[in-house]
Assembly symmetry: C2
Homo-oligomer: 203 residues x 2
Amino acid sequence: MGERGRPRSFDRANALQRAMELFWAKSFEGVSLSDLTTTMGINPPSLYAAFSSKEALFREAVELYRSTEGSRIWSCLDIAATARDAVFGMLRKSAEDFSRTDKPRGCLVVLGALHSDLSNTAVNRDLADLRVQSVMQLQERLQRGVEEGELSQAVDVQAIATFYVTVQQGMSIQARDGASREMLLATADCAMVAWDGLVAGQA
Amino acid sequence: MGERGRPRSFDRANALQRAMELFWAKSFEGVSLSDLTTTMGINPPSLYAAFSSKEALFREAVELYRSTEGSRIWSCLDIAATARDAVFGMLRKSAEDFSRTDKPRGCLVVLGALHSDLSNTAVNRDLADLRVQSVMQLQERLQRGVEEGELSQAVDVQAIATFYVTVQQGMSIQARDGASREMLLATADCAMVAWDGLVAGQA
DNA sequence: CCTTTTCTGTATCGATCGATAAATAAATCA
DNA sequence: TGATTTATTTATCGATCGATACAGAAAAGG
């Protein structure tokens, strides 16, 4: 039961990686098939045979982003010992990753397809869902803090989660506009200054 | 010295207003000439005669946005009696305006052209400049607070200005993702919880 | 060998992009 | 009145968009 037919002549994973970085740098609508085939080093029929369509390729690129770049940012929610460390770690990792010199700046999930065209409605909704998910993820981590006794039950976990995700999403814009790593880290620090007040009990 | 030639048959200001709301809702790249002519109720030659090009029309639309919608958000920097009221007012007005039901959600300057295509490089840089300007504007207001004795000279006005603009820019993303007015206002409140700590002197 | 299967390169599809040429209509100037 | 000027409508322009038809090439099955 070996592989039938002519074998693929390019590395699919490598081509996907290149496509991901292209979408990351220029968004779904900003990348043309011509851009993709040039960067991936293949012709259109090979792209369609391996990835079905531009939209399907983008979805795979987003999944690759989430399992690599995105994971580095959000994994500390599970790792950090306290809710505070989870939030601070997420912001610090965002500041660091958004200002890498060898990668596009900012977050693919935030910048990848902000506007809903006629042609990208599904892609746009997918990313919006992921952004909403990230609020939920943080909210659940804060709720865990409540249940573990770290945070008061009077704390408004939804408002706090929304606030810190808002800061993190704004950092994508700042990173795109050239903010230095130091400034992004300073922004994370500023956001954490609110922590003690936010978890004091009064929403 | 009256007007020569056939008079324009449409209201230029009204057409510009409609174009502005279209760009606001769908971004520069997301709006086609066909979209524009349909919404403005004119044919392509009339658009080009009155506005020169899609890019020039976008620039005028951004200026209209800044002098109306944008002004409502940033004018409190000059009006508010204290630096704190200036920041809080800017965030509150953003939360309110970004969640209006009769207008596109979020900010045209933030969402209007985030990625730089081959065709929109200039437009993209213009908006990026405006975003950097908004940090400078807030920073100058904070500096005024220092000079008036409201804030300590040890305060890091650049970091604080960047932080609050980051929150405001993140609110554009949140607004696009459907965040309620209450949640946006709660985010503004959360950001202000950091104020006392931020202006305490230690950066 | 020949058939089947799958991938590859070339060349191009119809649709849409931003932008205009050409002819006509409506105003002022002389 | 005619000449001039500007705006309008219609019908496109060349370029690019995402996506494919087609024929040849490279593998496995028989």
